[in-house]
């Protein structure tokens, strides 16, 4: 008989797969971005099922809250001509036949490799699953979060400086890229017209 958490997991995983399919198929980039947000929240709930409250918080606040705003901004600022995806199944297969083949080969092989290795007896030896463990008490979850923080600072001490440096570099680099001085002469004809439409009229 399937238990409550297992059912929950199945529901969420179908939700995630549905979100991914929608992300790939919706006609507008903006829509793809908000389907991505939904997928990210679904993944966050799976993290919660793996008993990691703090990673849940990171996933929601950084991914679903922070990165997705960036993606939405980028989608809005660069919106131009949307890619017309083939509507019919046949046309879809015709257009993406080679990609589909590659993707199927990779997927099947990955599944076989991972599942066979996970199911082998060597892997099972001495392990038991903590995924979806609902017997954890509140104290234990407090204890886990606290110990994760302690571990992060004590045993993985370079992680936070590394991330901080990386994010600072990314921030400065992207600001530098975006606010770079540019002149209309450097632009392509399309953009020249867009930024300076009066010129076209004069011509």
């Amino acid at each position: 008989m399937i238990s409550f958490v297992e059912a929950l997991f199945l529901v969420i995983s179908f939700f995630i797969v549905f979100c991914i399919i929608m992300t790939l198929l919706v006609p507008k980039t903006m829509q793809a971005a908000y389907w991505l947000i939904l997928m990210l929240t679904g993944v966050a709930v799976l993290f919660l099922l793996a008993n990691s409250e703090i990673i849940f918080a990171f996933q929601i606040s950084i991914y679903a809250g922070g990165i997705s705003v960036l993606l939405l901004f980028a989608a809005l600022l660069t919106q131009h001509e949307e890619y017309e995806f083939p509507r019919s199944i046949l046309g879809f297969i015709k257009v993406t036949a080679s990609q589909l083949a590659i993707f199927l080969i990779i997927g099947i092989n990955l599944l076989i490799l991972i599942l066979t290795s996970v199911m082998s007896s060597d892997f099972r030896k001495g392990t038991s699953s903590q995924l979806g463990d609902t017997t954890l008490t509140v104290e234990e979850s407090f204890f886990m979060t606290e110990n994760f923080s302690v571990t992060l600072w004590r045993d993985f001490g370079m992680v936070i400086p590394f991330l901080a440096f990386l994010l600072l570099t990314a921030l400065l680099g992207s600001v530098k890229l975006v606010i770079r001085e540019w002149e209309i002469e450097d632009l392509s004809d399309v953009m020249k017209n867009r930024y300076n439409p009066t010129q076209e009229v004069q011509q």
Binding site: F56, I60, G65, V69, L72, L76, V138, E139
Partner: protein, 363 residues
């Protein structure tokens, strides 16, 4: 570990009524939800009354005693309206924005304690972080809603909203980092208990607590997009900002979300700096005494925090009727240039105090 973990209302439901835990959770959630909803009806009424008095008007008077039932009446009216959607709107996005804002606002109430004896819907180890995480869904939701409405006012409002929210989330978080470092926990229960034992943070660390609290409060006002930070919905230029195209029950939900945000921010300010449900602002010893018994009483605590929240609601209404709106560049420079550095300074003072590292030896 000073935390008081436990299921909601556990004394009553599990101890005395011998209910199952899931039933206790359900009943507790219903009670907490009803309480929040009732307050969502009272708070706008108070705000409208206060603003009216400050502007020399009378405010709502017709429905109910002192116009008390004006808000439920408005709600009923809005629910009864036709559900319209602009032409060319993105259907799913249009609904998604409402859905995300509404659920996240209500979900934010989960780790907020209402008393020290297990009066808490869900006691997470990540408490305050959880509230911030859930709250951070709000900017993309506004952006999606603004875009999906297919209206330029909505879109510009959404942009402004997202930019402002991100700009103020950082000083907001930095200003509370000191508190988290001193207490050593994200849990709001532990933060409040620490303040019950050691005095409220707003009066500690030689003014740093006060400044951090003020920064948090101001950022909170900006986060809720209220006056003087209501640029996203500046009615003179943007009609109603990202909310322009929503009407009927959607508009009602959005309005309620706004007041929920006001409530959450006020509550967080209380928990982090003003001792939450505590009534005694300075450090006392833990020996049994009248005042200690009094402040540990769950009803007193519940009343205390409700009263405190309404004081802050009053302050918000006061600000709304007294202050003028900022320009967008003033708003952003206030956030990035002034509040962020100052909040980092207060963080340094918090970290330097004898409760954490103690490198500020002169204190």
């Amino acid at each position: 570990m000073a935390s008081d973990p436990g299921l909601p209302f556990e004394e009553l439901f599990i101890g005395r009524l011998k209910l199952e835990p899931w039933m206790a959770i359900a009943i507790g959630s219903i009670i907490a939800g009803s309480y929040i909803m009732i307050n969502q009806i009272i708070a706008p009424w108070i705000e409208r009354k206060v603003m009216a008095r400050m502007q020399g008007r009378r405010g709502p008077v017709h429905v109910g005693k002192w116009g008390f039932l004006q808000i439920p009446a408005d709600l009923l009216k809005m629910i009864g309206k036709e559900d319209t959607r602009p032409e060319g709107a993105d259907k799913f996005g249009f609904s998604l924005a409402i859905f995300l804002t509404g659920t996240t606002a209500i979900l934010s109430f989960a780790p907020l304690p209402w008393g020290s004896k297990g009066l808490i819907p869900g006691n997470f180890s990540i408490g305050i972080l959880y509230v911030f995480a859930v709250f951070s869904i709000f900017p993309p939701a506004m952006l999606v809603g603004g875009w999906a409405s297919n209206s330029k006012y909505s879109l510009i409002g959404g942009f402004r909203s997202a930019g402002q929210l991100i700009a103020y989330e950082i000083p907001m978080f930095v200003s509370i980092l000191g508190v988290i470092a001193v207490v050593g926990s994200f849990s709001l229960v532990e933060i409040t208990n620490y303040q019950m034992n050691n005095g409220w943070f707003i009066g500690k660390y030689y003014g740093a607590g006060l400044i951090a609290g003020l920064i948090f409060f101001i950022s909170g006002v900006a986060e809720t997009e209220r006056v003087p930070f209501d640029i996203p919905e500046a009615e003179a230029e943007l009609v109603m900002g990202p909310r322009t195209e929503f009407s009927g029950w959607r508009y009602a939900l959005l309005m309620m979300t706004e007041y929920l945000h006001l409530f959450i921010n006020s509550l967080l300010f209380l928990y982090l700096f003003v001792g939450g449900y505590d009534i005694w602002p300075v450090r006392v010893n833990n020996s049994p005494s009248f005042i200690n018994d009094f402040r540990m009483n769950p009803f007193v605590q519940f009343l205390a925090i409700t009263l405190k929240v309404y004081v802050l609601v009053f302050v918000a209404a006061w600000m709304r009727s007294a202050l003028a709106r900022l320009r967008i560049d003033q708003l952003l420079s206030l956030g990035w240039k002034y509040m962020l550095p100052v909040s980092i300074l207060t963080l340094v003072v918090f970290l330097g105090s004898k409760d954490v590292f103690g490198f500020l030896i002169f204190w």
